[in-house]
Amino acid sequence: MKKFNVKKFFVYFFLVIGALIMIFPFYWMIINSLKTAQDMTLYPPSWTPSNWFNFENYKVAFEKAPFALYFLNSIIVTISCLIITTFTTIMGAFAFSRLKFKGRDLIFSLLLGLMMVPFEMLVITNYMTVAKIGIIDTLFVLILPFTSSIFYTYILRNFFLSIPDSLYYSARIDGASNWKYLWRIMVPIAKPSLVTITILNAITCWNSFYWTLLVINSDAKRTLPYGLYAFMTEGGSDMKLMMAAATITIVPMIILFLFARKYIVNGVARGGLKG
């Protein structure tokens, strides 16, 4: 018979408790979104909805506010940001790691220095800029300020630097251009890093709220987080509807996470990268 391992027991015990604490808000959100008005009046609140397949709240939420539209807006914004940011990140990282030009390291240091400036401060100047261009209250304004990222460029640049020079020279001797080398050799090798960056970026874009709140006025341009916020203030305080709306908001990210879990954990463990 296997000996009872006290140390292991405690390790797993605390891990289980930790996991439960993490899961609980999600659980609470989901069961409340499935409850009927009657369930909600119970005191103490019940741990399970009376009917697990009561999707009435979702229907009502969709009727009360155009969540489908919000959803679409969020998708458009997130995917645009992702494609453009990933592209600029790759190009930037390549330039700062592989190309030699005057002042390269100085420019890069300055860019890194910019990371010290908090986003909340940039919001003011960014707002003034987009107001001047006259693109306020469009989806474009949600994309434009987020088409590059110094942080992700930095992460990817460091990864690129770790790829031996000999690979580059070898490819050059074989006749590959910088462009070809980047897309045929470097990017495939950096795939794990890229996936991590993309996912973290997707989560950030998807949850982006503050900027949206500032620059979007019309109902039709709202993204999900803003829509959810508006729904809470405008739609009264019906808890079960709010929970349904919140669930709609996070489901895509949960799906994304489940698919790419392996990469996120690897990337974070390797690069000491945080979202």
Partner: protein, 351 residues
């Protein structure tokens, strides 16, 4: 292809890596660039490949001046010390890569790659990734990838130094075989004299960026033009004794403790010289050149070595086990003509 290097110099901010280097590499031959680390041999190779720009001088491939030609136009294949295989591609894809860049159609390049794989004997591993191969197999892939575009010149940078001793022996012969089968002009860099001696047609010995001597391996060993060449080649190493030439034209130790008679009296009286004696260049036959004391004998398997003392100088020589000398015996030694060299102390040049 004949390679002509004309007064080539490479300066780095704080050093001169290659200094006024002039020589020709023979077409279709395997040439070793040999020298201690930091002697500029890798710099040389990188300049031939076009990775490093040249400071001064010219490089010619046959009649083309390639000095400022970018690497991809030179038609060279380069095998890096760490092989530089693309980790995300299979063996087949790796070998195909140069042709893929040249936009050769897929069927043709796969056929060609398989042919190359057969040449270097890795055809059974085509679907593997580089990390699933041993060092020797990776080396073969790298060679196949370098050869697939029919280079005019094949360059190998320390091709064997990442392999363990047994594989090294095997790959060494493989490189020789592949070179002889393909007849491609090949230059490889090494710091291992044995490696260079065993497979190359000729050896270029370098020191501090300067060309010391170019010769066939055996001639380099038998006929060194410089003290450095003599001391770099040979294991156990050559014995070097400082001294001067006395009135009779013979060699006298600096502290006058003894005289060694020389077979050929090439030095000038009073000149300070260094006498180089290869361990196998001493016998105990009729002609007696000097007296010596046996300090210690030890066996090294098939052969026996002895430390002997000539005057105040202690040298190491081969001693056939037929001799029954014991430690402390005073014996008379004979210098053979072969393997005994006299160098000028100042310039290091052979007299």
């Amino acid at each position: 292809m004949q390679i002509k290097i004309d007064h080539l110099t490479k300066k780095f901010p704080d050093t001169v890596a290659v200094d006024d280097f002039t020589m020709d590499f023979e077409s279709g031959k395997l040439t070793a660039l040999l020298g201690p680390s930091g002697c500029g041999k890798s710099t040389m190779l990188n300049m031939l490949a076009g990775i490093l720009p040249v400071t001064e001088g010219h490089i010619y491939f046959d009649d083309d001046d390639v000095t400022d030609m970018p690497p991809q136009k030179r038609g060279v294949g380069l095998v890096f010390q760490n092989y530089a295989l693309y980790p995300h591609m299979t063996v087949l894809e790796n070998i195909c890569f140069p042709l893929e860049i040249q936009k050769v159609n897929k069927a043709e390049r796969i056929e060609k790659a398989k042919e190359m794989a057969k040449l270097v004997q890795i055809d059974q591993y085509l679907d593997r990734l580089p990390k699933e191969l041993s060092g020797g197999q990776q080396q073969r892939v790298a060679i196949a990838r370098a050869l697939i575009k029919n280079p005019r010149l094949l360059l190998l940078d320390e091709p064997l130094s990442n392999l363990d001793a047994r594989l090294r022996l095997e790959m060494r012969e493989e490189i020789r075989r592949i070179q002889q089968e393909t007849k491609v002009t090949t230059i490889f860099v090494t710091h291992d004299q044995e490696e260079a001696m065993s497979i190359s047609d000729s050896i270029v010995l370098m020191k501090n960026g300067v060309l010391m001597q170019v010769d066939k391996p055996q001639e380099l060993y038998d006929d060194p033009k410089h003290q450095f060449v003599a001391s770099f080649l040979g294991n156990p190493p050559i014995n070097m004794i400082d001294g001067k030439i006395n009135e009779d034209g013979d060699f006298e130790l600096l502290d006058n403790s003894t005289v060694i008679k020389l077979n050929s009296k090439v030095g000038q009286v009073g000149q300070e010289v260094v006498l180089g004696i290869r361990p196998e260049a001493i016998t105990f036959d009729e002609v007696k050149n000097a007296k010596a004391e046996i300090i210690q004998r030890y066996t090294m398997g098939k052969e026996e070595l002895a430390n002997i003392k000539i005057g105040s100088a202690e040298i190491r020589v081969y001693l056939s086990s037929d001799y029954t000398y014991k430690t402390g015996d005073i014996i008379e030694i004979t210098l053979r003509d072969k393997g005994v060299f006299l160098f000028d102390k100042e310039s290091g040049k052979r007299l």
